[in-house]
Symmetry: C3
Subunit: 431 residues, 3 copies
Amino acid sequence: TGVCGAAMTKTAGCCQGCLHYVFDYETPKTLVIPSIRVGFVFRFTQFLVVLYVVGYVCVVQKAYQETDSVLSTVTTKVKGFAFTNTSDADPRFWDVADYVVPPQGGDSFFVLTNMVVTPQQTQSRCPELPNPSTSCVDDCDCIEGYSDPRGNGILTGLCENYSTTVKTCEVISWCPLEIDTKLPEHALLAAAENFTVLIKNSITYPKFNVHRRNILPHINSSYLKRCEFNRTTDPDCPIFRLKHIVSEAGEEFQDMAVKGGILGIIIDWSCDLDWWARKCNPQYSFRRLDNKNPANNVAPGFNFRFAKYYKTPDGEETRTLIKAYGIRFDVVVHGTAGKFGIVPTVVNLGAALTFLSLVPVVADWVMLTCMGKRDLYKKHKITHLNEVADTETVSDKLNVFTRDYQGLIFSIFPFSSRLFFCQTADKIHSF
Amino acid sequence: TGVCGAAMTKTAGCCQGCLHYVFDYETPKTLVIPSIRVGFVFRFTQFLVVLYVVGYVCVVQKAYQETDSVLSTVTTKVKGFAFTNTSDADPRFWDVADYVVPPQGGDSFFVLTNMVVTPQQTQSRCPELPNPSTSCVDDCDCIEGYSDPRGNGILTGLCENYSTTVKTCEVISWCPLEIDTKLPEHALLAAAENFTVLIKNSITYPKFNVHRRNILPHINSSYLKRCEFNRTTDPDCPIFRLKHIVSEAGEEFQDMAVKGGILGIIIDWSCDLDWWARKCNPQYSFRRLDNKNPANNVAPGFNFRFAKYYKTPDGEETRTLIKAYGIRFDVVVHGTAGKFGIVPTVVNLGAALTFLSLVPVVADWVMLTCMGKRDLYKKHKITHLNEVADTETVSDKLNVFTRDYQGLIFSIFPFSSRLFFCQTADKIHSF
Amino acid sequence: TGVCGAAMTKTAGCCQGCLHYVFDYETPKTLVIPSIRVGFVFRFTQFLVVLYVVGYVCVVQKAYQETDSVLSTVTTKVKGFAFTNTSDADPRFWDVADYVVPPQGGDSFFVLTNMVVTPQQTQSRCPELPNPSTSCVDDCDCIEGYSDPRGNGILTGLCENYSTTVKTCEVISWCPLEIDTKLPEHALLAAAENFTVLIKNSITYPKFNVHRRNILPHINSSYLKRCEFNRTTDPDCPIFRLKHIVSEAGEEFQDMAVKGGILGIIIDWSCDLDWWARKCNPQYSFRRLDNKNPANNVAPGFNFRFAKYYKTPDGEETRTLIKAYGIRFDVVVHGTAGKFGIVPTVVNLGAALTFLSLVPVVADWVMLTCMGKRDLYKKHKITHLNEVADTETVSDKLNVFTRDYQGLIFSIFPFSSRLFFCQTADKIHSF
């Protein structure tokens, strides 16, 4: 049992060593400097850092929040009709099914405002529109089968009379050819400015499982039936008059209607979902999205061609080609939701604390370079190890002034700036 | 050479001074406290921080990952046909080209389920639909050229017989006018619930150059030809029965088919692209996106008007106006991919290390306020500089307890809480 | 007044105590080690951290930037015409209104390249296409009212002659039925490869209020009228030849045109908005988005059905069904803009500083475990408190070597690695 006891003692000793190894607590020895000046520099710098963290990071930037991007669905429904009676075309009544393309009402809809109509086109042959590259004298000028990318069809090799004075090469194409230079100078459907559009938008922030609609909960059906969006009086009404949209974007509807354009209806769903803020309403804004500058543009405005196909009683296909000018409205939904999250909070708090831990560096620097009693402080704070004599000597040099970040501070504040900083510090104190 | 030698000696001295300046290493003097209690508080707090970092930040939140948002392309193809034979309309056979709008199969497609058809409309004149604002006694009640935004056309100024009992103002419009109150109570294309849709979705995470398809690599063509999505038995099949989609969204297809609605097919591509996780499969979910609540709504359900244009043998344009009710399916693809990134790792590790460097502050606080031997510890740890006498005195006050963060700790834990904390600490230790 | 004076004295004393409490500055006592080796380790580690922060975090990753995602609007306009003259169909001229679906030119447009046309369909009855499940011997094989999901209509219950040799069940459907196995082997509109598309893209970074267009400011209208995109010679021209797009995506236009496909036109708007960088131009790239692999696919290529509806003189509705094969071009705009932001800068700087504050831990570890004079250093740096005798003793054990992060360092570098590290350190120094 003696051996065993010795072993036990040994084990116990080892255990205790281990315990000491793990649980001995090592803490730095500190020196308290009873100087109001140094203390003030320390506290003031500390205050600045806390101010930045609380004021800027938390209040202004809300950096403690996790964020998510919006998912959105949009339904649009245009309402209105018009009657056109110009010299160019037959009188005609227009309703939604006539002027909205595509009809199904997604987040991008086009309202036709002007057009060049070429009715009764059939697959046949006709002389090209006259221009320098298509005019001809006789059939030799027209190469059969050739197709000019800027032309309207494939040459048949014949040279035909376009008018009594001009001869042009004949082409295979949908004839008669469209003459799109005859665009009405005043928009045909000028009345479109009074059409209205109902925009229904429902959004989701999937990370936070939040669903919202642009028809807010406090709005009732009867109000929705008669309201019209107005930034000051009806900011929550989802029904917009086209003219109003265009003028809020800083454009003139009648100007834009002639050659067309693209108008963005921008819905901003920036949300603060924290319970103490709970702010999540749509903000509407409007902006023209296409380029008006003619010098730096090609195919200005917005137009596209589409055709309605018919069959004549004898089975031949004819079509009415429409070059449609108008305004494409794009509903652009964007937004970011923020909600308190532990990870961003910890990261930002960590960064802030790091800066707090820089504060002593600044205070030490001020203490050891600017204070009148700096030599006294240095003597008590810094000990120099004399390796040869195995003794400690008090500090007698200026150059070692602080602990961790000296390399950094060093490169930021060269020593020549010492006077400036210390004088500034003095001023602050005497103040 | 004597001068030169002196200069060299001077230079050498300067150099050595410089070397010492740059390479002298300043390290804090420390005191080891052989107290298990203090050591335990220190280690335990350290353990909590490490636990948070490893457990929450790394495992739960994966904060070490860089993230990217998904780019997606969707193709949809509906299949199915139906035969309708109701008293309201002629018997008719319906296939995809008849009931899907638009036909090209993008990420939003509409399946027609109910409708009001107004055939044989022409540009002409007819009496308005009767309601209080359109009924008239004689021509004087109808102002020529006036158009009521809630009406259907421009008044001609005549008052005509709408029926044998009612007279209304005549309008220029597409006549006969649509009577959309005659909506069938049971959806016309009730059979649409058995239609299926094939959804092909290919995504990209551009930052990580990752491409994926919702048809997973292990799925072969023969399976794809006969499968149907089912959350439990066939979760990877990209073919969905419309009825199944609607019922998974918590709705009844036949109810929704009457007035229409919008249904979201949500594909979640949240991916963990790290090689030890490599998880990147689509998750399908379904949700109704429009508002069912009638009290807070306008134009409930989902419908739009479109027309098919015809020409009569004598060249007059006629159209069939269709007010189409149905379900718009929006394929909404979202997701975030995460992959190990050095910057977020360093930022989060940095924040964690900052909190680790707070641990001694806590341990110091406990040591200097709660421990029985706190005066002993204080005496050895903290030295007070007596500026007048140029001597150091040991600490004899309670109030200076720790180094860097005292201002912070201070504001968070007022001194009155000292007893509570220390008692708690005692309890933990005696436990 | 004596009492008052005593009170005042007391107040003043309390005040002074308070002042001392708040403004006394506590700073760690430090020891300067005049060892070039330890200093070198310290400075070198510091240098590595600074190098990482400046080089990787700032220059490579630009972690000092706030980011925002792009909002985009796209207009597309296809140009070109073609003449087809095959044995299968009548000669026909094709222009934009014929082959682009949908016509309005959004961010996804389809160019028809091949098709199966079924003209003159009417609502009527006809025998099914022959296959094992539709062939019949007599009427008993055909169940009236049954509809096979893989069939083309609802059975009438009759068994009719499909051809002179085959009898199939009769169905109610749009007749004649489409025979889509007769797809032309060479794309009908092979000439589509020479069509061009003008893409106008305007983007917004809402957070930074930055708007850009893909038609860059230095490009003038005359250049736009004649240019064509080419990665080397015309990288800024927004007009793309379809063949060029497809070949840049690594595909052959004529192969893709037969069965169709989806092609992504990817515009990358990654921007650096800081004034010293100011780089914000679109980068175009092209990629096939659908799956070519036939083993793991269903409905390969890209096609959809649409119909043109006609009315015969006697009022019967007929339609031309077109199964359209072609290439869908999806314009995918993505990008992230970065701009200097205070919060990310502070967070990353904070993380970096935390790592700088780890440097002394490393230096201490080297000093106390690898240096020859480690016992000397330890003796002067670390004091052991003897609680019983109330005296301090110098360190005489190896195991407590550093201050804050010992637990961490500990778990990362077990003690067995001491020799390796110290030897490495020695090598570095002797080098």
